[in-house]
């Protein structure tokens, strides 16, 4: 925790204390969907980091002239443009991964973390802190996504990053991959456990 203290608050706060997934329980949909394999989770996380920090910076620059009546529409417009950009780049240079992630890249638009940070932070703060806030929230998302994905891949497929982790001899002895972990309920259970562990460590257990 000592290292975290030395970071700017915008960056460190959303990692653990105010983690968008584990504390605020936002962005659950993609956390459940793209955590079967670590590789997909990492690419998804990078895409989300880019979109949150990008939209936070752009909207922070725009905040003074932005008419409040069309605020949400403009935010969505900026976020959607960034997401489409990511999707196009993935299709051009990471075709295989973009096929695997399919609709979930496009669905970053509807990820409430992104719009949430734009509304709650970027519209009221200068570009640099907004960037840090976006980066922090993106990294917080990444932390949960990758932890869940790594556990699901090890337990569900016996691999990590696509490389076999459990030797064939263990399978020969009768070990079977845990099919539940490949399916969405596996993600629900792991995410629940993650939140439980985090709340216990932060001393929040049992609080309302």
């Amino acid at each position: 925790m000592g290292v975290l203290k030395s970071l700017p608050k915008q960056l460190s706060d959303p990692l653990v204390e105010n983690n968008p997934i584990a504390s605020q329980v936002l962005g659950i949909c993609s956390a459940l969907a793209v955590t079967v394999m670590l590789k997909q989770a990492v690419v998804m996380s990078l895409a989300v980091i880019f979109v949150i920090s990008g939209s936070n910076v752009i909207l922070s620059f725009m905040r003074k002239g932005l008419p409040s009546r069309i605020r949400i529409i403009v935010e969505m417009c900026v976020i959607a443009s960034l997401v489409i950009l990511v999707d196009q780049v993935l299709r051009a240079y990471f075709f295989e991964l973009s096929k695997q992630l399919s609709v979930f890249v496009g669905l970053i638009i509807t990820n409430c973390i992104v719009l949430g940070r734009a509304e709650a932070y970027a519209l009221g703060n200068a570009p640099w802190p907004s960037f840090l806030d976006g980066l922090g929230n993106g990294l917080g998302y990444t932390l949960v996504l990758c932890t869940v994905a790594a556990l699901r891949e090890i337990l569900g497929s016996g691999t990590i990053w696509g490389i076999a982790l459990i030797p064939q001899s263990v399978y020969d002895l009768g070990y079977v991959n845990m099919g539940l972990m490949v399916l969405p309920p596996g993600a629900f259970i792991l995410l629940g456990l993650y939140i439980w562990v985090q709340n216990t460590l932060l001393g929040r257990a049992g609080q309302e």
Partner: protein, 248 residues
């Protein structure tokens, strides 16, 4: 400037900048996207013929494809046109394979198939295109047959929009693996195709040559695969019948 005019102007400018930048990127990235899609298609065709397509480098995919795969143009009656190139044909000259559209496509429309050729130029296997409806989307793939026109060598789905983890499993190696060695024709020589059974194939009570394991949670996608296999086997049957004669 009054408030409404300002708001409208602001919205118009935001829209203009966003759409301008996006179209710039879309056009700029198009060549790379086309290239990626072509390589992916080549990779899938190589895999369906039994090459280790998934682990080949881009260059390797291109050169292997050029050396060992040949595209053949045929018509609805199975007649081969050695002088035609499928890429030169316009959309009007190509048959619509989808079963809702196939009957209405013209009689002299052309179909494309791929063959795996050895160094002497003789074909050892053929791949026919597959197209049909799943649950959410149209499924596109290839079915490879040995040169007896009957035994399945492999199957692949390279484009679809099915649910990841459920219907999308049709493009996973384990699903394709089940099809290997299955037969299109039954013992009397009539077209039986292959059924994706809801559950384990061995519990189906059907002839094991014509049934594969289903995917739990993806019954409609699986039924779509069953339907499109039968339909596409029918579409290409005139051609396959010719190969069977040569083989026999």
């Amino acid at each position: 400037m009054n408030d409404n005019t300002y708001t409208l102007m602001y919205a118009a400018i935001v829209c203009f900048i966003c759409s301008f930048l996006l179209s710039l990127f879309a056009v700029g990235l198009q060549p790379a996207q086309r290239e990626a899609a072509t390589i992916d298609l080549y990779r899938n065709i190589l895999t369906v013929f039994g090459f280790d397509g998934a682990n080949m480098s881009k260059e390797n995919v291109k050169s292997t494809f050029q050396n060992s795969i040949k595209q053949i143009v045929i018509d609805k009656r199975g007649k081969v046109y050695p002088d035609l190139k499928f890429s030169d044909l316009s959309d009007d000259q190509r048959c619509e394979i989808l079963y809702t559209k196939f009957p209405s496509s013209s009689d002299d429309c052309k179909l494309s198939i791929y063959s795996k050729v050895d160094s002497q130029g003789s074909a050892s296997a053929y791949a026919i295109p597959l197209e049909g409806k799943g649950l959410w989307s149209t499924l596109y793939g290839y079915l490879a047959l040995e040169n007896d026109g009957n035994t399945i060598l492999g199957i692949t789905f390279y484009k679809h929009g099915e649910t990841p983890g459920l219907g999308a499993e049709i493009s996973q190696p384990w699903f394709a693996e089940n099809f290997k060695g299955k037969k299109l024709l039954d013992q009397s020589g009539t077209l039986a195709s292959v059924k994706v059974y809801k559950g384990k194939a061995k519990d189906s009570g059907l002839a094991q040559d014509h049934v594969v394991d289903g995917i739990s949670g993806a019954t409609i996608t699986a039924d779509g695969v069953t339907d499109l296999l039968l339909h596409c086997a029918k579409v290409f049957d005139p051609f396959l019948a010719k190969i069977r004669k040569v083989g026999a």
